[in-house]
Symmetry: C2
Subunit: 621 residues, 2 copies
């Protein structure tokens, strides 16, 4: 099985040209000196969970942020590393494949070799299974040559995205020790990075000298927080899907007789659906977050879509395009409850054939109402992260069927009060999943992944453990990007839920998928245009992913409109505090000191109130 | 409904750049003089059907080929047209939407206006329904501006691809007369062009002065014969689909745990599947033509795929990609027979619910064996051309299910003689249909369609009726393209089949879809690599459709390898004959004359034998 990994392969003309593309490095990573400045100790984004997290991660919680600086920056307390003894690093594809993953390896390899040609990079083959089984190959120029700027994870392969059980963690540690690794880089999404943090903690506790670093690579775009603006792969996936959605919109408009229901990948969160909607302007997009916030039932949703179809029929329009995120099924309250019951029965060991008989009367009634194909899909075993097998549940077909039934009920010739007057409703369903995931990565994803690879090296030579490589200010050109690292524990939250009477449970600390921010600018942009999208068919076709000319350098719309740069602001705050210190030195006038005290007292009061749990608690993301 | 047609719309950056692209014209169409040379009278490709066709088309059968020449060519008997009175032309999207259709209109418009600014072009809105209802709009620069080099048919829209019943033909004629049209250009595939020929014949018979011209625009690539090398849209569709197939191949190779079954559009013929296989090198492609030629049953096919899966498992490979043309279901003998029975019951007016009860015992047994989802799909009403609703029949799911069942039977722990030793078989199914059809057209399709539009004008000013616009030598650069026109009747064949004992029926003459030539070079290329594709995973990723840089000017592989240029050879033969005439003039020596007679006698004998029905009959395509 492993024999094919790392084998150079034949490339098409376009792939060859892409293989020659060389991403730029931001100024802070250029040269052979690593300069790192540490910020304040971090806390958790959710203050209420801080205690739980700190207990679970005694060795790795509360570490400071790290900023990597240009060689020429004059920062007095920056740590300057000019000696680079040879190091040994391992890298593993842990999460699901996402375009750009290969470039993390390339960037890491280049940084390692640039600082000391005797350093070595080992890739674990076959993903986590290779890590556990100590199967690796040394990365070389030759091996990388046909994988630079290319899609997929086929250089090393992947298996499950889990390093969690004691056996798995011990096997990973044994593997790192056998290869005498100074560092282990884990490429993946929320699950893999949670596991990376746990691995770092266990390694630290066991005095294993391997440092663990995580890299945010997931097409879902849901590893998003104050430190992480977007993920490697998201840009490409949204561009490839938007092209296809736009093609379908053009098709709908040409024949004017079909409603297309398109389900998109993205797991629980609807980031992909939101971005694709902003790029291609379909008639409707149903975000899981909206549905969850409004507690819409499947019947409410059906009615909403039917009302839209009816309104369009009123304008003599019998076509349309509706986007549905694959996570929608878990956002619809009663379907989620049903899935939870099914999941509970799975855990109890009830066989698939017997599950339906053991459902509660309420869940059973819903289950029996659903069409057979969807029943079968709901009964599938859950994924490794306990969520339903979202890619296998054809929510788009369920909605299309329900809408068709409801529209037919509204036809005047079937009942007198018929409100839908017009042509027959025709639905065509699509799932845009695996056909985008293996795409050649966009220029942005190539750049982002390559630079993140470099950042991983800087983290390792700074001796940091349990950190994630971060780049902020991503919407600016590469030469304005800020590179740093944040402890993964600072991105964790703790889930609380009550199950049964008078018992309350708290979950394990984890990096949880970030949902679409319904107060964010990207969502606001969508809402502003929603009625025009619905009625006016202002479809937009960004076209196929380009590497030259217009669109080649485009970034995702949600990244461009959202005002992020948290790391930049953290640095700016530090500068203000330093300035105050600089002005109010011993020897300054009493008046200046009094003014400073008074001003700082009110600032402190204000921030204390804003940060109290009763004010909302959670730090804004 | 019509209010949206022809409305300028907002374009993305890439669309704007594409809208500025200007295809080149071959030398023969440059300038304002039209020079046309007529070849010999045409016959039908199928000599056996010639009589039937000539009887059905008394006014339009047997017309000569037409070649359009450069203004500077010295051909004594070429007709030279320098006067260009204002003309009025109508154009209608008739077939299914295919990328590049808008450029036919653009090219036609430019040619019309170049030769006389007072000439007018009218587009029928809403496709054939607009033609019947006399709904049209005048094409202007302004209307065209945002549709140049853009996908879809949304400038004018389309409805059904049929102009066939007496009412429809009469309505079309009334429409042409009401608008005082000198010409009507019909954009479509095999069905639409057959209808165009019929319309031309009826118009000629009724002394309606409108000339009818067909243009070969169909993504299926099945309007292929000695005059037509490829169709507008085929190149784009194959490129978009090949990108997606390649992405899936990369994905398969990254995780090594799924078999992907991908169904491709293309109707009855497998041209799209063949071309995509040549571009992306999936593990298997099942061509309908192979299946039909070998009379493989669905069980044979299942076994073939299972054997392949088993052979790969022997090499520790548990992933793969299998392409399936949508027309496959009609190529499998027993499924075709079942579909024919169902179709017969539809025609008899049997309702869908009662069909299964009225099937013959044999067909009923097969029907009951099939999974419920496919039964439902087989019962759908047939399309306007009497074929099954291929886009709705999920053959890929049927095969995946049958393969899974069979592989499970081969597992050793279920039966002692288990031959499949390895991991679980997992299938994921995809249908790549509507998401490619609305794509921005490739450069080739933009050029081809635009030049065809110009050719239509030349056909009309030459006064030709019932012709199709043709361009040959397409694999060479545009400046080597040969432009001409061939009577549509010369592309027709007559189908014969026996139904029931001692009765034989012949069908109506029609342009029939050309199937993949199993003796052709493209197919040979596939067969040469088939075992390597199957076992070695030599996937190739042509990448997303590019408009600049590598791949931007690529043409389809089947076009590039096939040795066509029939029209060029017809011209070359004429030159040889003229040369013989030139050498053997009255006054030449007796010896020369004797040699010429002897040589020509043997040539004539040879050709007579080769063209006799007993020798194979059909002209090679």
């Amino acid at each position: 099985m492993d024999s094919d990994y790392g084998v150079p392969r034949e490339l098409s003309d376009l792939q060859k040209t892409r293989a020659l593309y060389r991403p730029e490095l931001p100024p802070c990573l250029q040269g052979t000196t690593v300069r790192v400045e540490f910020g304040d100790a971090t806390t958790a984004a959710d203050p209420a969970g801080a205690h739980v997290i700190s207990q679970a991660f005694p060795h790795t919680y509360g570490q400071p942020l790290a900023h990597f600086l240009r060689a020429t920056t004059k920062v007095p307390d920056a740590q300057i590393i000019t000696e680079h003894p040879a190091i040994r690093v391992g890298v593993v594809f842990c999460g699901r494949q996402s375009p750009g993953g290969h470039n993390v390896i390339w960037g890491l390899y280049e940084a390692i070799k640039l600082h000391n040609p005797d350093s070595k990079l080992f890739g674990f083959v076959g993903g986590t299974e290779g890590l556990f089984a100590q199967k690796s190959l040394e990365i070389t120029d030759d091996i990388l040559s046909t994988y630079k700027n290319q899609g997929g994870y086929d250089l090393l392969g992947r298996t499950a995205d889990q390093i969690r059980t004691t056996e798995q963690v011990n096997a990973a540690m044994a593997s790192c020790q056998a290869l005498k690794l100074d560092g282990l880089v884990i490429i993946g999404g929320v699950t893999s990075n949670t596991d990376a943090a746990q691995l770092a903690e266990t390694f630290a506790e066991s005095k294993c000298s391997t440092k663990v670093v995580g890299v945010p690579v997931t097409l879902n775009g849901d590893l998003k927080n104050q430190f992480v603006e977007t993920n490697v792969g998201f840009d490409t996936i949204c561009k490839v899907n938007s092209q296809l959605i736009s093609n379908v919109c053009t098709d709908a408009l040409s024949a004017e007789k079909y409603y297309y229901f398109i389900r998109l990948m993205g797991r629980k969160a609807s980031h992909v659906a939101l971005e694709c909607a902003l790029q291609s302007h379909p008639n409707m997009v149903i975000l899981g977050e909206e549905v969850a916030a409004s507690k819409l039932t499947i019947f409410d949703l059906t009615k909403q879509i039917c009302d839209a179809v009816q309104a369009r029929a009123g304008n003599d329009k019998y076509h349309g395009v509706i986007l549905i995120p694959e996570g929608l099924v878990e956002s619809i309250p009663e379907l989620y409850a049903l899935l939870q019951e099914i999941h509970g029965l799975h855990v109890k060991g009830v066989s698939v054939e017997n599950i339906s008989a053991q459902l509660s009367p309420w869940a059973s009634a819903l289950f029996e109402f659903l069409p057979p194909f969807i029943r079968k899909q709901l009964l599938l075993h859950p994924e490794s992260d306990n969520s339903a097998q979202l890619s296998q549940i054809e929510t788009e077909k369920l909605l299309a069927q329900l809408v068709e039934t409801e529209i037919n009920k509204r036809l005047p010739y079937l009942q007198k009060e018929g409100t839908y007057k017009g042509k027959k409703f025709n639905a065509i369903c699509h799932f845009f999943g695996y056909q985008a995931r293996g795409s050649l990565p966009s220029k942005f994803d190539c750049d982002y992944a390559y630079v993140l690879g470099h950042v991983c090296y800087h983290i390792l030579v700074a001796g940091l453990n349990g950190y994630m490589a971060t780049i902020t200010n991503l919407r600016s050109p590469v030469n304005k990007w800020r590179c740093g690292a944040a402890p993964i524990t600072a991105m964790m939250t703790v889930k609380r839920w009550s199950r049964g009477p008078a018992s309350s449970q708290i979950g394990k600390p984890a990096v949880h998928p970030a949902t679409v921010d319904l107060k964010g600018k990207a969502y606001e942009l969508l809402r502003q245009s929603a009625s025009s999208f619905l009625m006016d068919d202002i479809y937009r076709n960004p076209g196929p992913l380009q590497f030259e000319g217009p669109g080649g350098d485009a970034k995702s719309i949600s990244l461009s409109v959202e005002d992020q740069d948290y790391m930049g602001r953290i640095k700016l705050l530090q500068e203000y505090l330093d300035k105050v210190k600089g002005i109010v030195k011993p020897g300054c006038s009493q008046d200046v000191l009094k003014a400073a005290l008074s001003a700082m007292a009110s600032v402190t009061d204000l921030l204390t109130i804003m940060s109290s749990p009763s004010f909302g608690g959670r730090a804004p993301i």
